[in-house]
């Protein structure tokens, strides 16, 4: 075994030791670029060897035992951003945002992450200015939202087909903390995350390893709360034109009252647009902001633009139109929507002053003309329909579609740019334009107005016939009543006067008001003695009461019998009311067969130059007046008598006496649709031997002093004559009846009969 000493081998050895070592060329450093951790489960094995020589130069080798061990799990992780270098996002008051953390497994084996600590202090929103919403976890299966730490951890350990989401060495997952900034909040909102990573040991993990969990790391965001972009709008409407051709002129002013720039978003469905979405677009005409406005309707009838061309000022843009709110053109014909598209170059372009943040201190509800960045003006045809002059006839709401800096697309109906509004708008449809509350529908940007100039027309007339015409016009139409004391007839006492007893009942006349104008109106009621009628006796009062009214239009409900002084009548509607004539406590005296009463005047509140009158006429003590006269044919028997002389001082035996009973319904008549009192079942009884009388005492003697009815009486109205006792021409015929039947108001007639003086 002894080997001869070899100079060559010794030289070789020396050369090997002295040779320069070149491990590479092109390395940037003498150190490795990165030292990957030795994977857990790796076996580290070492065996030493040696060479030596005996004194004779023979070389020998030797080898040691082998030492072996296995590399253990070494959990470690990083989070980004860290609490030492917090990240930062910007959120608007009331806005929502997600702080996304990246968790990296820097261990030497695959592991799963868990959240630790207390939600709200260690994990989640830690400041009081925001409200935690959810954790958004993306462990490789897309974003999943969870409300609690426990839910997150359960998902991370069991959500992957029943097992944990294992993240490879140097692999990452993301966990977002979503919160909503409180309305009105400002300053900084902090979120934190304190995760760990756990490396499972064998048998799940590498052989020869045991489960190990890292210390938690702390991630943090300090988010700045800044008021976002906010489109302020003020809209005004001016009603013009005439009642026959009404118009409504709208002026809509826009400005950015927020603290950040508007973000142009897209141009979909707009002229020149396409299906692509444009995010982060600046200084381009391919994206921008749309301000839109649905033209209002009235009574389900779409109002239209006039021929006047809409205009914009203050910014460079394009007026756009749509019939459906989805497809937009530059053609005005048939437009139901109008809007303005402002390209990004008109909003965020260099040097622009329009739509800059905090634009001239506008507010959500007020944009003065001088502070407007954009003004849109257009004129619409109004409406000639009933109620068109009501102040709330039409509502018009402007809207916008724009992006704020928080990434929210603002405004309802985003997909098609616009929103609707009309007189029957729902809450969503009346959504105003202001939008920085993430869709909360509050604020202004809308205006309500009339759709026509005012046209006041009213009628005051008898119950059910407000447009009744009196003898001459609609101001002398009338309602006539015969006064009864609670249903009891009142008779004349002397034949000329009639007394209404103390404590007698009131009488009520119902009349109707009609509003044929184009605006809901209130009519003030007044009563005064009407021309041609007698004033009610002293002590009588006149009041008005409601017949009951449901709320309608701008008119409120009124309970029946409520004492009123005015009546509200919606445009196009009719409403009745009661006029109560109340006697005083004591007795009062009326002239019989005389019309009393008042003219009731209704005066418009909308236009106090407009009024209408109806007349209430009251007759007390009966309304059919009987008047009896006589004449005589001196020295002429009835058989031949032809000339009768009235007011003869005396008669002679054998003279023929002719009696005439004149009857007259004294109630008013004439006109159209007036209410008066017609007599019916009117019967005259003539008895030559009767005596008595409720009003005037009398004693008839013609039966005794004549030969009785010479012949059948004659009624001018063809009344039915009967009730003879005995029949006419018979000796002693002393009685008959004349059944006239109906006797209309104002009608009269007479009945004549003859007797021959004995």
């Amino acid at each position: 075994m002894m080997r001869a000493f070899s100079f060559t081998s010794l030289l070789r050895t020396c050369l090997a030791v002295a040779a320069p070592v070149v491990v590479g060329f092109g390395l940037a450093s003498t150190a490795p670029a990165s030292a990957a951790a030795t994977p857990a489960g790796t076996t580290i094995s070492n065996t030493a060897t040696a060479t030596y020589q005996d004194p004779g130069g023979t070389t020998y080798n030797s080898q040691s035992n082998t030492v072996q061990t296995t590399v253990q799990n070494a959990p470690s992780m990083t989070i980004s951003p860290t609490s030492g270098a917090p990240g930062s996002n910007t959120v608007s008051p009331g806005g929502s945002i997600t702080d996304t953390y990246t968790l990296t497994n820097t261990s030497n084996s695959a592991g799963y992450f868990q959240l630790t600590g207390v939600q709200g202090t260690d994990d989640g929103v830690t400041a009081g200015l925001g409200t935690f919403t959810t954790y958004v976890v993306n462990a490789g299966a897309g974003n999943q939202s969870f409300a609690t730490i426990a839910a997150v951890n359960n998902y991370l350990t069991t959500g992957n087909a029943g097992g944990a989401f294992m993240t490879a060495v140097n692999g990452t997952i993301t966990i977002g903390v979503t919160f909503q900034a409180n309305v009105g909040s400002s300053g900084t909102i902090t979120t934190k995350l304190t995760p760990t990573v756990t490396l499972p040991g064998a048998p799940t993990g590498p052989a020869g390893t045991v489960t190990a969990t890292s210390a938690s790391v702390v991630g943090q965001y300090n988010d700045t709360v800044t008021v976002d972009a906010r489109v302020d709008v003020q809209k005004t409407a001016v009603v013009g034109g005439s009642v026959a051709v009404p118009t409504v002129s709208y002026t809509v002013r826009f400005a950015n009252g927020g603290a950040r720039n508007l973000a142009p978003v897209f141009k979909n469905a707009l002229p020149g647009g396409n299906a692509a979405a444009y995010s982060g677009c600046t200084n381009s005409t391919a994206c921008g902001v749309a301000f839109t406005d649905k033209l209002p309707s009235y009574n389900a009838t779409q109002l239209t633009l006039t021929a006047a061309v809409p205009t914009i000022s203050g910014a460079t843009g394009t007026i756009i139109y749509s019939t459906d709110g989805t497809t937009w053109t530059t053609t005005q014909a048939g437009a139901v929507y109008i809007g303005v598209f402002l390209p990004a170059t008109s909003i965020t372009g260099a040097g622009l002053t329009t739509f800059q943040p905090n634009n001239n201190a506008t507010s959500q509800n007020t944009v003065s003309a001088g502070n407007a960045s954009l003004t849109l003006s257009f004129v619409m045809n109004g409406s000639t329909a009933t109620g068109a002059a009501n102040t709330n006839a039409i509502t018009n709401v402007a809207n916008s579609t724009y992006g704020d800096q928080s990434g929210f697309i603002e405004g309802p109906g985003i997909g098609v740019q616009t929103v609707t509004n009309n007189a029957a708008a729902t809450t969503a449809q009346t959504a105003p334009i202001i939008a920085n509350t993430n869709g909360a529908l509050a604020g202004a940007g809308s205006v309500t107005s009339a759709a026509s100039p005012l046209n006041t027309v009213l009628f005051n007339g008898p119950n059910g016939f407000p447009q009744a015409v009196g003898p001459t016009n609609t101001n002398d139409d009338y309602t006539a009543v015969s006064y009864t004391n609670g249903g009891a007839s009142v008779s004349a006492v002397t034949g000329n006067t009639v007394t209404v007893a103390a404590g007698a009942a009131a009488t009520t006349i119902t009349n109707s008001l009609q509003n044929t104008g184009n605006k809901d109106d209130t009519y003030n009621l007044t009563a005064a003695t009407a021309g041609g009628l007698s004033a009610l006796p002293a002590g009588w009062t006149v009041t008005f009461e409601s017949t009951g009214q449901a709320a309608s239009g701008s008119c409120g409900a009124v309970v029946v019998n409520t004492v009123i002084t005015s009546v509200c009548v919606p445009s196009g509607a009719t409403q009745t009311y009661k006029t109560i004539y109340t006697p005083p406590a004591g007795a009062t005296v009326f002239n019989a067969y005389t019309g009393y009463g008042d003219a009731i005047t209704a005066t418009s509140v909308n236009d106090n130059t407009k009024n209408n009158v109806t007349i209430d006429e009251i007759v007390v003590g009966g309304f059919v007046k009987l008047t009896k006269t006589w004449s005589v044919a001196l020295l002429q028997p009835c058989a031949t008598a032809t000339v009768f002389t009235a007011s003869s001082a005396s008669v002679n035996p054998g003279d023929c006496v002719q009696y005439t009973i004149t009857y007259q319904n004294v109630m008013p008549s004439g006109g159209t649709n007036d209410i008066t009192v017609n007599a019916s079942s009117f019967v005259i009884t003539e008895d030559g031997a009767a005596a008595g009388g409720a009003q005037v005492a009398y004693t008839n003697t013609w039966a005794a002093n004549s030969n009785g009815l010479f012949a059948a009486p004659v009624d001018s109205n063809g009344g039915t004559l009967a009730g003879y006792n005995p029949g006419p021409g018979a000796a002693g015929s002393s009685r008959f009846t004349d059944t006239v039947g109906a006797l209309a108001a104002g009608a009269s007639g007479n009945c004549t009969f003859k007797v021959q003086v004995k």
Binding site: V21, A31, A40, I44, A50, Y52, Q63, S64, T66
Partner: protein
């Protein structure tokens, strides 16, 4: 010079005089590995690696004991230890009272007490620099002098689990 050669020849002859065919050195190697744990108070605890499972960052000390069980001295004794995969040499840890360490970057093909690498400098030209110890793949100890029969020599070096 002549006298030195003559003296050396005498030593060689003296060693060869027994003329016994079995007279030779017999060096055996004993390798142990221990986890080095340093307490806060500075005390160090050594735990055999067979009893623990190291993790990244742990330091393992390897001790080689070369014992000459033969009947003649062993000369030019060069024990070689590995830097196992998954570990990196701890700079300055190779020590022995009777040897100086050398290192290899290429699995033992070449050795140097201070290995260098050639890299591209900022100007694009090659530059020779000292190699990072983490690049070492092996360590050897060049023992000075002879190891007498029944004598032992100890060598030690440390690696860090990557």
């Amino acid at each position: 010079m002549k006298r030195s050669i003559a003296a050396s020849s005498l030593v060689v002859l003296a060693l060869a005089l027994p003329g016994l065919a079995s007279a030779k050195p017999n060096v055996t190697l004993k390798l142990t590995g221990s986890l080095v744990t340093k307490a806060a108070d500075g005390r160090t605890t050594m735990t055999p690696v067979e009893r623990i499972q190291p993790k990244a960052g742990d330091e393992i000390e390897y001790d080689i004991v070369a014992s000459n069980a033969g009947t003649t001295p062993a000369v030019r004794l060069v024990p070689v230890g590995k830097i196992p995969a998954g570990t990196a040499y701890v700079d300055g840890s190779a020590k022995s009272a009777r040897a100086h360490p050398e290192f290899s970057l290429d699995g033992g093909k070449t050795w140097s007490a201070a290995p260098t690498v050639t890299v591209k400098g900022p100007d694009g030209k090659p530059v020779v620099k000292k190699a990072d110890p983490s690049l070492y793949t092996m360590v050897r100890f060049v023992t000075a002098g002879a190891v007498a029969p029944r004598a032992s020599v100890a060598y030690t070096y440390e690696v860090r689990v990557k």
